[in-house]
């Protein structure tokens, strides 16, 4: 797995609160057995109803860093949501806060999800609006978001940060390595030993 220390690219401003995963990828697109092809459907219903949606705005077509508000990714556990954002081209998300399952899904895909102050996010979103090719950097080592002459601090969980910067964000291999410990934990559980 590759180390994810910094993501730099143009931004996409979507400064709204409580964006749920049904909005990110409507349920009808979950009728699939592979995540391929989800990118083009990101925010499909919102885009149809809002002709100014940033995901349809040519100016943000190359965006890599999504900027949003509070409680981003709430609702369903569908990994299809970060998968569709990733396949659309998003490589990092900055928001005021995240729903937990969505946050974990992002980390497991190597997508940094970092939190920043609401007022700072508003300024960042406005700066991207004003200059769509503005480079935005999410720096997980310095825990900073930088654009133009501005650097703001950001937070994420230490576990997610450490997994991403060390390139150990795909947990499967690490979990698999512990087979003996897994078996001994299983053996110690009352419900796996007839409650003896």
């Amino acid at each position: 797995m590759s180390e994810v220390k910094q993501i730099t690219g143009a931004g996409v401003p979507l400064f709204l609160d409580d964006i749920d995963t049904d909005r990110i990828i409507p349920a009808r697109f979950l009728r699939c057995v592979s995540f391929d092809g989800l990118g083009e459907h990101a925010f499909e219903d919102d885009r149809k109803q809002d002709t100014n949606h940033p995901f349809d705005d040519e100016r943000f077509a190359n965006g890599k860093v999504l900027v949003s508000g509070r409680n981003f990714g709430c609702g369903s556990s569908r990994e299809h949501a970060p998968q569709s954002l990733m396949r659309w081209g998003i490589q990092a998300v900055i928001a005021e806060s995240f729903a937990e399952i969505f946050f974990g899904n992002c980390t497991g895909l190597g997508i940094p999800a970092v939190c920043a102050d609401r007022e700072e996010l508003k300024k960042l979103a406005a700066a991207i609006e004003a200059q769509p090719d503005l480079e935005v950097t999410v720096d997980l080592e310095a825990l900073q978001v930088r654009y133009g002459d501005t650097a703001i601090s950001c937070t994420t969980t230490e576990e997610a940060r450490s997994a991403l910067v060390s390139g150990q964000w795909d947990f499967l291999g690490q979990l698999l390595a512990e087979q003996p410990a897994i078996r001994s934990t299983a053996a110690s559980l009352p419900y796996l030993s007839n409650f003896a």
Binding site: L16, D17, D18, D20, D22, R23, P26, A27, R28, L30, R31, C32, V33, S34, F35, D45, K48, Q49, N71, C74, G75, S76, S77, R78, E79, H80, S97, F98, A99, E100, I101, G104, N105, G108, L109, E158, E159, A160, S162, A163, Q168, D170, F171, L172, Q174, L175, L176, E178, Q179, A181, I182, T185, A186, L189, P190, Y191, L192, N194, F195, A196
Partner: protein, 467 residues
Amino acid sequence: MTQNLFNKVYDQHVVGQLASGQDQIFVGRHLIHEVTSPQAFEMLRERGLKVMFPERTLATVDHIIPTDDQARPFVDLLAEQMMSAIEVNCAEFGVELLKLDDQRQGIVHVVGPEQGLTQPGITLVCGDSHTSTHGAFGNISLGIGTSQVAQVLATQTLAMKRLEVRRIEVNGTLASGVFAKDVALHIIRVLGVEGGVGYAYEYAGTVFDAMDMEERMTVCNMSIEGGARCGYVNPDETTVEYLRGRPLSPQGEEFERAAEWWLSLASGPDAEFDDVIKIDAADIEPTVTWGINPAQSVGVSKAIPAVSEFPEHEQVGVQEALEFMDIQAEAPIAGLKIDVAFIGSCTNSRISDLREAAAVAKGNQVADGVRALIVPGSQLVRQQAESEGLDKVFTEAGFEWRSAGCSMCLAMNPDKLQGREISASSSNRNFKGRQGSPTGRTLLMSPAMVAAAAVNGCVTDVRNMLG
């Protein structure tokens, strides 16, 4: 100070610590369904991995299942493809699958408890956010993403971080016409849709003590709507008696040993919590959502709040919600016209929910122009309802009586809202587009309230109908 249930159960399941600092947690039970599992099995195939403890996983089909014509192949070929995928995957990897011809089939969060698979003291995961439902039995039950489903299949473990525990005490007695759903919606309104992030919710107090298991499941189910990944009620005699004699419960003497262990896990009177919230049952009314998230709700006797009543940072969202819903602030919620009535979903599709709805529907007629659907949570619930004659009550009143599945809760099957239709729904999410039409609208409420809305054609205070 002693440990609360969450921490007792968590500690027992720690396998070790990962380099990132997360804990590796053993998963006692794993439930899968057709939507979030196909990619996980594909990941195993790509890496040449097997399922480590196939007997700890149970699969069911629910999300895409048509609830009327279930003949194979399904009319929707994408649904048929998903159905075949789970059949092939379960056969290849040795996982038991409850197919449509198995009377145990149903919504994953109805099936687990019904079979006695969901027990106190376990860890249980599923690629589905409403896995919190199973916490009603006093355990740690969490929703996970598809990559984690693959990890659990391959290792029976997942990486996680210990949650903080907030005890939510609801004391007093619920008034007649006030149901578990109202308790859940009330808690979410008080604490907000994000209030639970980072927490497991322990639900306690005399209201929960008095609830049966199905009511506890309704409240735990909606923990995730308040941002909490899991919620639980401490095991007690109600829990033990519910589990006695279920197919997957321990049997005979083993059951007695199990019961003793289960009861020992409950948080004691001096247990430690990271936060405690107290709510008075007398403040809870039949509750209805008016917006696009489950915290945007109001007591049925009240008016929708004015935008100015919300904190400034919420006002944009409230305005967006009112516009989408095409609802006036400060207007009463009662009397709001509906087009569709849906009783179902893992929140409210169990036998007690159907009985409560039937009590309201009995002798009445669904209002002209309203399409009303009853979708039992499992085939066993459907059979039980039929043996009690509830299906007749519903069909005589003009409701459609369907087969088990998720149906219009998320509308991945043919049951969908059309255009701007507005639905009174016993499900759990009123997100934009949730019920299948991108511009469709949802009002969440208890099953009895949905039945009342169906027969009156508009939001109605069910307390006026219960006499």
